[in-house]
Every structure is written in structure tokens, then in C-alpha cells.
Assembly symmetry: C2
Amino acid sequence: MQLTALEKQLSFLREIDRLKTVIRQSPLLDQSRRENSAEHSWHLAMYALILSEHARGPVNTNRVIQMLLLHDVVEIDVGDFPIHGGSSSELQAEQESRAAARLFGLLPEPQRKEFLSLWQEFEHAETEDAKFAKALDRFQPLLINIFTGGGTWTENGVSLEQVFSRYGPVIKRGAPELWAVCERWVSQHFSGQAAGIPKQAD
Amino acid sequence: MQLTALEKQLSFLREIDRLKTVIRQSPLLDQSRRENSAEHSWHLAMYALILSEHARGPVNTNRVIQMLLLHDVVEIDVGDFPIHGGSSSELQAEQESRAAARLFGLLPEPQRKEFLSLWQEFEHAETEDAKFAKALDRFQPLLINIFTGGGTWTENGVSLEQVFSRYGPVIKRGAPELWAVCERWVSQHFSGQAAGIPKQAD
Ligand SMILES: [Ca+2]
């Protein structure tokens, strides 16, 4: 049967509900459970809304927000590939492209084309908007590790050098001011000092 | 101690992590658990991104997205007030205002002022952007109930008339085309017929 444009849009919105069941490595800050990719995407969109003045280049905040809202929907089909997992990135890229084609293919034109291309722009990380979006996508889990006193670094036995090499280039490329803060906090953390922002009294 | 502007921004982003622990009445579509307010906010932002052509008035999609991203942060302090809860809305409004002042008050100026006023605009529901955002905030839980064959309506013994009066005016005011679909599906649901979009074969 033929779906109307609105029915196609609602099918897509129904399908992406499943992103709420994709579980990431990072915990919530209260460490009660691991974060899922839908709430992670919300948090990243808030990071973009609040932090875009710290982007390296001139960015369009609203495009960055849109990119971050949809950057992870492919995980519905392929799951989350953890930063410290060491998986093959070529296989991953191929699986994710197939997932993007299927998921955005639920939408009517011109939305299918538009959002698929926004997702590809994020993946290629060449425009200023995409570089900043990618930087935030690395910055947020790094902050979680700082704010939880080690988090997935402790769990995976990750060293200072590994943190610098796995997070540094991407964050620095899109948001050097944010990387400067990270460098200080990461060094403090690995030398056993308290790192991060002191909590204000309530 | 004095925090820098960036430290204030990061304090805010750390604090709102707690929205991931605020639990709503509505279930996920797979009914494995209830939805939290952070992933709900992500889903609503996606609704705005995909459905803005169905708004009654001319809307700025990106402002609607921003509004929906932050509309629920006050629940960190006051919790979620369910649609079918029958709580006093004056008390609720006062508590939410205090929460907004505290939370957005973590941000440096001019962001504090800017996001507080965006949140107030949503609450007052008088601009076209806010009316559409409010309509989506009602439409999404209604769809969950349709897609789960009853959901919170069954749980709370809610009648067809109550659905029409609790969801209808807000959805119709901001997105009459979406309400037209709802009316048909709600009537089908309460007359025992299968309602909603048929799932396409995988
Ligand atoms: Ca809401």
C-alpha cells in the first residue's frame, strides 16, 4: 500500500524510537546506569546550543544541532561502536551507510535526500559545522569521564597517551578552546589530582 | 570562587544530565520501560525537524527545536507532571518558574536571559513557534498511546472524550493537520479497531 507523505514521516518518527534502546559505554553522571544514544543525542544538541562560540571556524549553530540530533540514528541497525573498542572502521562505515539509506529512506522526498546528506556531511567531517559537531561528540564522553573520576578510562585501562590520541585530534580540530580545558583536566586526572569544575553549593 | 564563562556553561551542561533520570508516564514503543525526559526531548526535537510543514502558522523550525530541547529541563527540580494527573497548574507553574531561574541561572549572560526567555515563550504558548512546540509535546505521547494499543489511556481508564479534551485543543491550535490524523486514530482505537500506520515489511 501507498503511504502518504505524513504517514511516511510518522513511520520514521516511530522507527527512531528504538534509538532509546541503544546503550553506550558511558555512564550517566550519577553512575546509576549507562547512557543511551537518544539521550546522548539530546545532550549533544544542548552542547551545540550552549558552546558554539567555542568552535574553531564560523559555524551555523542550528545546522550543528540538526546534525547532532540525527548523527546516531544509524546505531538502530548497527549498534554503538565504542571509542576504546578497536573495531574496523571500514566495515563500520559500510554498515552505517546501509543503515542510513534504510532509515532516511522511510522519509518522503525531499527530506530523505536532505537528512541523508546532512548525516554524510557529519561523517565526512570536512565542513566547519561537521568538524565542530564531531568535536562535541568526542568532548561529551571525555567530560563524563572527568566528572565521574575516570569512568570508561578506568574500566578499559586507558592511559593518558591513549586519551590524548583518541580524543585530542578530533576535539582540537573543531574546538581548540575546549581541547585546552580537556588537556589540563586530563593531565590532572592522570596525575591523581581532582579534575573538573568544583560543584557550587546548592 | 569565580567561574569563567566556559566553566559556567559546562556546569549547566553537567547539571542537566539529571534530566535523563526524570521518568515520564509514557512507555517506549517496545514497552520495555518508561521514557525519560531527556530522550523525550530528543524525540520531540526530531518531530519538529520532520513535521514543521504541518504547523498552523509560519514557524521557525530551528527556534522550535531549541525550545523543545530545553522545555523540560525544569523537571530536574520539579519532576514530570503527567497529563492525566489532575495536579494544580498554578502551583506547578510557580515551581517550574523557580526551577527555570535556578537552572538557566547557571549560565553566563547573555545566555541565561536568552534561554530563560525562550523557555517562558514556550510556557506562554502565544507565538506561532510556541504553539507548534506545545502541539508536538501533546502529539508525541498521543502517538505513543496509539502505537502501543492504548498505553497510559488504558492504565488510567481514560475515555475518548477525555482524550479529545486533554489533547485536542493544544494539538489543533498548533497543528490542525496533525489533529485531523489523531481524531481518526483515536476514534478507531476507542471503537476497538486497529489504529495507526501499518508497519512496512522489513
Ligand atoms: Ca514535555
